[in-house]
């Protein structure tokens, strides 16, 4: 066209300008459509631009399709999770709430609109639950009473996933807790009711065994009946003590106990019961005392010492050893008995568990001694460790946490602040 008017360069420039303007308009249309692609039909542009537009709209359709599918899947998941009988809460690494289902909201009093992103422990505010999350050990579930005095019990089970996120299962276990309480109450009541008739039987048997008028052939049976009734009395006494211990999970506060005096007393009683069958050795390696309930601790230590005496043959030695270190206070009862094979060790503190059913009954134990020891230690934040080697003897060690060690200078003053009914 430029040549026709004699100015080829002007013509070329003009043509380029037109082409550029066309391209610019198309680019602009494309941009406009991309910005509002949900509301507008794709622009009708031929050639290369048309290809680009159809590519983009295909990608867009595909994305739309996936989005819809994910969204409907998510809705389905949410709807189905609402029918779950258990509560589920998903927490992020800071233990803030990411998501929870309807049941969890009901059980924990969470609100769907406001509570996302808030730390769960801040809303529940149960000290035990805070510790459970912080400790990060989710091998066991946590069972708590959200409100003391209410009958409701809730169980939490954490399941970590990813990098520190957590799925928390929340279950209402009120029914199980009630059954458990009923079982405990039953044992306590039954033992209590059995005690009175048994006292009468034991009383008469004692009188009869001392009565010279009883025919000689009845004498042995009466002595045996008397022995067995004493055993029953001991079992019932232990059952009652166990139910008292089980009645509360609350930690015992207690007062400082002089361990030296306690162990000396136990050693003396042991010698008195068993004569000179064994040597009894007391090794006090620390002058520190123990913050504990004197009655409970005496019963636990006595049970261990008596057990050792029962299973150690004549001529053996029983050692009572007390020491303290940075891990806390420790008391060991070491015997030179036959020992216990490893397979029995984990079950030893179960009620009525017998290593050797035939032999153990002769010793007259109730089968509840170690269960009592375990419970006493639990109430003091301690634990029982048992090591044993067959043929060499066993070591039963009570470990108490450092907070339970009473340094010798430690003395409690009588607290009289509110003695007059006048508050601080």
């Amino acid at each position: 066209m430029g040549w026709t008017i004699g100015h080829p360069w002007w013509g070329l420039t003009g043509a380029l300008a037109i082409v550029l303007t066309q391209q610019w308009v198309k680019l602009h249309q494309l941009d406009h459509w991309l910005r509002n692609r949900n509301r507008r039909a794709p622009p009708d542009a031929g050639g290369l631009w048309g290809d680009v537009v159809s590519q983009v709209s295909r990608l867009h359709r595909r994305k739309q399709f996936h989005k819809q599918r994910l969204l409907s899947l998510f809705r389905e998941l949410r709807r189905s999770s609402a029918t779950m009988p258990d509560g589920v809460v998903v927490l992020n690494t800071q233990h803030e709430i990411l998501w929870f289902n309807r049941k969890a909201g009901e059980l924990l009093g969470l609100r769907r609109k406001t509570d996302h992103g808030i730390a769960l422990a801040s809303l529940l505010r149960l000290p035990q639950f805070g510790r459970y999350l912080e400790k990060g050990d989710f091998s066991s579930a946590l069972r708590i009473q959200p409100r003391i005095g209410d009958a409701v019990w809730i169980e939490f089970q954490g399941m970590p996933y990813g990098e520190g996120q957590l799925v928390l299962l929340v279950r209402d276990v009120t029914r199980q807790a009630q059954l458990e309480t009923m079982r405990k109450d039953f044992v306590a009541n039954a033992s209590h009711e059995l005690r009175s008739p048994l006292t009468v039987i034991a009383g008469y048997l004692e009188t009869l065994s001392l009565d010279d008028g009883v025919p000689a052939d009845l004498r042995l049976p009466i002595i045996e009946m008397r022995r067995q009734s004493e055993r029953m009395t001991a079992i019932i006494a232990d059952l009652l003590e166990l139910s008292r211990l089980e009645a509360s999970d609350e930690q015992v506060i207690g007062s400082p106990i002089d361990i030296t005096a306690l162990l000396t007393l136990i050693a003396k009683d042991l010698a008195a019961n068993n004569g000179t069958r064994h040597g009894v050795e007391v090794r006090i390696e620390s002058g520190d005392g123990l913050m504990a309930d004197a009655g409970l601790v005496h019963s636990a230590f006595w049970n261990l010492a008596e057990n050792a005496a029962k299973y150690t043959p004549a001529g053996g030695t029983i050692t009572l050893r007390w020491w303290t270190d940075e891990d806390g206070g420790h008391l060991s009862v070491i015997d030179t008995g036959p020992g216990i094979s490893a397979e029995h060790l984990p079950r030893l503190t179960e009620r009525f568990y017998r290593v050797d059913p035939g032999r153990a009954r002769d010793t007259g134990g109730s089968g509840l001694g170690l269960a009592i020891v375990r419970h006493v230690l639990q109430r003091h934040g301690g634990e029982l460790a048992i090591t044993s080697e067959e043929g060499r003897g066993s070591i039963f060690t009570c470990h108490f946490p450092p907070s339970r060690v009473a340094r010798q200078s430690f003395a409690l003053n009588g607290d009289s602040r509110y003695a007059d009914g006048v508050g601080a």
Partner: protein, 241 residues
């Protein structure tokens, strides 16, 4: 926290610091709630060892107050927070004082409960105290919920409920006077119970204070020593009281 997320100049570490100290306050609140529940249970059930445990455990509350206080001072000194963050820190410093006082009141109730457990229990089995205790526990619980959710409306509703506690307190006081006139031998025990009731009433007041801090934190308005109705009107109009 939404408000903090909107301020890009504040670093992530700072947000984490604030969140942590806030969670610590609520953990302390949770412990105080538990102490309160235990102390009332100890009195109502006549459980002397539970009462002793409450009195013994009060030092935890004190320790928590000290450590949160230190953390707040550290944040003030090193981060110099402004606006809503500053209000949060100020509110926290005040709230922990109230929580610590609540702890002291619980200690007192626990102590008296352990002493009363050894004595003869009244015919009504402390029913009135139990009821007041429940009302106060709900109040503390809802005040701390409002704190956790930064919910000023809920805080206002809770603050209004403090009146119930005061009414209940008056009723028990009148009833106690009747008891003492009927049976002078009960005077000592009734006086002890009055200390418990008084402590519960004080705890209700402290819970109300915490609600006021929540409103201060969210709206930046100080509503202390102002009648609740005026506060409501002021917040509705958007003007300072």
């Amino acid at each position: 926290m939404d408000t903090a997320d909107l301020s890009p100049h504040i670093s992530r570490r700072f947000n984490e610091d604030l969140d942590r100290v806030r969670n610590q306050v609520l953990a302390m609140g949770g412990f105080v709630e538990q102490q309160l529940a235990k102390s009332v249970t100890a009195l109502v059930e006549g459980d002397s060892s539970l009462g002793e445990a409450v009195a013994h455990d009060d030092f935890h509350v004190n320790n928590m107050e000290v450590s949160i206080d230190e953390e707040c001072s550290r944040i003030l000194a090193t981060r110099a927070p402004a606006a809503s963050d500053l209000r949060l820190i100020v509110a926290i410093i005040k709230a922990i004082t109230d929580l610590e006082r609540m702890g002291d009141e619980c200690e007192k109730i626990g102590y008296i409960a352990s002493r009363l457990a050894a004595q003869e229990r009244p015919v009504d089995k402390y029913r009135e105290v139990k009821h007041l205790g429940r009302v106060v526990q709900d109040l503390v619980h809802d005040a701390l919920d409002a704190f956790a959710r930064m919910d000023a409306e809920a805080a206002l509703r809770v603050a209004r409920r403090d009146r119930l506690v005061d009414e209940e307190y008056e009723a028990i006081q009148r009833q106690s006077i009747t008891f003492m006139m009927e049976d002078p031998r009960s005077i000592r025990r009734v006086l002890d119970v009055m200390w418990v009731v008084r402590a519960l009433e004080r705890i209700g007041d402290h819970a109300k204070n915490i609600c006021e801090y929540v409103i201060y934190m969210v709206h930046g308005k100080d509503i202390r020593h102002i009648r609740i109705e005026d506060v409501e009107r002021a917040l509705k109009d958007g003007n300072g009281p």
